[in-house]
Point group: C2
Chain length 406, copies 2
């Protein structure tokens, strides 16, 4: 029988209205003769509003920073078990046979790198048995177990990683990642009203969008799906649409070629401080010292541009003052421009295509947006603009590349 993996975030189980939608999607999949594996996150995990906070509440004010990483994982794993229990109760109430499996019980074996464990093997036998017995398997996401029986959490990618890993192991027809948006969008809909949902993106496009701060499936989860080309669908819990299909190559599914698409989407990241340091040619090693100093204080830098007469780079706004004081200590005279925004034009197809940068500059110039700095990789072009120009820049680029047509 064909298998589908459905991943729901913690918000999906937090209200009865949302739970009705989860129930609907599970019932729909069952009616389409799928064997259904449901992966669920903790209420409150990764910025969701409930359970992590509530788990902390349960600890009655005890300082959990004193918890070692092993014990943290053991505690955190309860969050997903609680969510899974809520779903189990709901399904049983509606006459749907089901069982709850911890990550370990679902066969996810990890190394013992607590807080950010790597999956080392996945034995889906138990899971397959439950499915073959006609049950919906509800798997607590975000967690695994070492070969010794220690509980671990997966860190980056969280429950999305659980979902795609199970999808690969079970050779699922789809891994459906349910979110609060209709799929992968060409831009942030709060900024660009006509932002379109992409019918299809490649794994590579998806990863690039994710790295640019768009709220989509974590690259780690995507990379796992890529291993056996399990298609991911990014869907909305609230709608019936099938959202955005994420595949390796569109031909595989008999769909039209999409390699003629230049740009996948526009993303933005506000609250960035540009730092400019005037230098002179006597200090050729200065830039090395500067970045060593930043690294020693855990300051992540970006958008680095080194010339014989200056060093420029960006840090997040809250770290601006610390960076400045470090530079002053070194005898330098940094200039800071806080409140800037990084705007990214993402497209797996832009590598080697002439005229993309020209088109970007044209769009921004037409709107009087000054480019403070720019950079590019083979899949992305970034421009740094002032914060007040961010919205104007994103809209101008979205319009110029006609992304609303997708």
């Amino acid at each position: 029988m064909k298998v589908i993996v459905q991943k729901f975030g913690g918000t999906s189980v937090a209200t009865s209205q949302m739970r009705e939608r989860v129930l609907y999607h599970i019932q729909t999949a069952l009616s389409e003769d799928y064997q259904v594996v449901v992966v669920v996150s903790a209420m409150g995990r990764r910025g969701e509003p409930y359970a992590t906070d509530t788990l902390l509440e349960l600890t009655r004010g005890e300082q959990l920073e004193n918890l070692s990483s092993r014990e943290q994982d053991l505690l955190l794993s309860c969050g997903e078990i609680i969510s899974a229990s809520v779903l189990s109760s709901l399904l049983t109430h509606h006459g749907i046979e089901n069982c709850v499996l911890t990550g370990g019980q679902a066969g996810i074996i990890t190394n013992n790198q607590y807080n950010n464990a790597q999956i080392v093997s996945l034995n889906p036998k138990r899971l397959q048995d439950e499915l073959n017995n006609g049950k919906v398997a509800i798997v607590a996401g975000f967690q695994g177990q070492t070969a010794d029986g220690e509980i671990t959490t997966l860190g980056r990618g969280g429950s999305d990683t659980t979902a795609t890993a199970l999808g690969v192991a079970l050779q699922a027809e789809y891994v459906d990642i349910f979110t609060d948006v209709d799929g992968v969008l060409t831009a942030d809909p709060r900024i660009v009203e006509e932002a379109a949902s992409l019918e299809m993106v490649t794994y590579t496009e998806m990863c690039n969008l994710a790295f640019q701060g768009a709220k989509v499936v974590h690259p780690r989860a995507v990379e796992i799906a890529m291993q056996t080309n399990v298609p991911i669908r990014v869907r909305s819990t609230l709608s019936d649409g099938i959202g955005t299909l994420v595949v390796s190559r569109p031909e595989r599914l008999g769909l039209a070629e999409i390699s003629d698409r230049l740009i996948t989407g526009i993303t933005q990241m506000p609250n960035v401080t540009q730092i400019r340091i005037p230098t002179n040619s006597d200090h050729l090693d200065l830039h090395l010292d500067v970045f060593r100093k930043m690294a020693s204080q855990g300051i992540s830098v970006d958008f680095i541009s080194v010339t014989p007469s200056s060093i420029a780079y960006t840090v997040s706004d809250p770290l601006g003052d610390l960076a400045k004081s470090l530079l002053v200590e070194m005898g330098l005279e940094p200039e800071l421009y806080p409140g800037c925004a990084k705007v990214s034009v993402v497209g797996a197809g832009i590598a080697g295509v002439p005229g993309v940068m020209a088109k970007i500059l044209e769009a921004l110039t037409e709107e009087d947006v000054k480019v403070l700095q720019s950079a590019d990789s083979h899949t992305t072009i970034w421009v740094l603009v002032s914060g007040e120009n961010m919205v104007k820049a994103v809209r101008a680029l979205h319009r110029k590349f006609e992304l609303h047509k997708y």
Copy 2:
């Protein structure tokens, strides 16, 4: 090295004041060169005020009666992990090396009778390793794991059972059960001001007291301790006293013989309805029909007294009306006396000792307390009195047997 098991209830981790006391008792044991195993309950388990309720809260109103017993156990087990995590954080904050172990990780293997699993084996190797590495082992109480890795809860006796089972497996010097009273008392201190804490009781006395509704260690936990004669101490979290020692035979510890003690304590159980049914000799099998009928409706009966002219027994007050309607359906004419109280005089030494019943009746008559019914076993004598006479009866018996002298 010598091992001590310390069991704390969920209330002990629910406030910072109580946590300070837990810390104190652990530090004291460490300073006395014990290897320390801490067993902790969930906040809210067994009438304690917090976590079970809060776990239910976390489920956001979903009806958990729809959860199957396997899934219930998985969810409930999180309650103890949360408590254990709180303690772990506290100990680490105070520089005490520790680790949290689930029931399964502590080696407690059970059958798969969810909600009320039996321990089938206990392999303390991992636990012993952690202790030998200088760590305090914090074990989540009330739970175990099947050989297949399913999470189970122990039901009756809860974390006390975990504590004594670990005590047996580790050949602990003591299993300390911390409570909110100074030990096992000769009577309920809310009724008898001069109720004394018993310095020592035998396992048998302890079990008898427990069965009579006194709030002490569950008989199941006591029975496990008896297997290898591990001494239990029932102590107060709030005081430094060592409480009541529970042992098989006092001589083992070189202490004075206590078999000359006739009575261990007086307990009471209010809110009992006495039912009297006048009968005649034509219906010799009637009493069988009556008790079959009660059983068929799940009504627990007690204090049964059958004579040729009457049947008398007791049920709990809330079940009185149901019992009456069943009897009326059978064509009987029951008389109900609600609001009675069962007063028990408990003493492992009363078997075959003449004059105990006489002394009881003497004490009650002196206080004008009418005995509605009486019964006895080889360790306990029960009398049924009206509810308003309960306090007077308990005090009179406590005084008559001079229990304040213990």
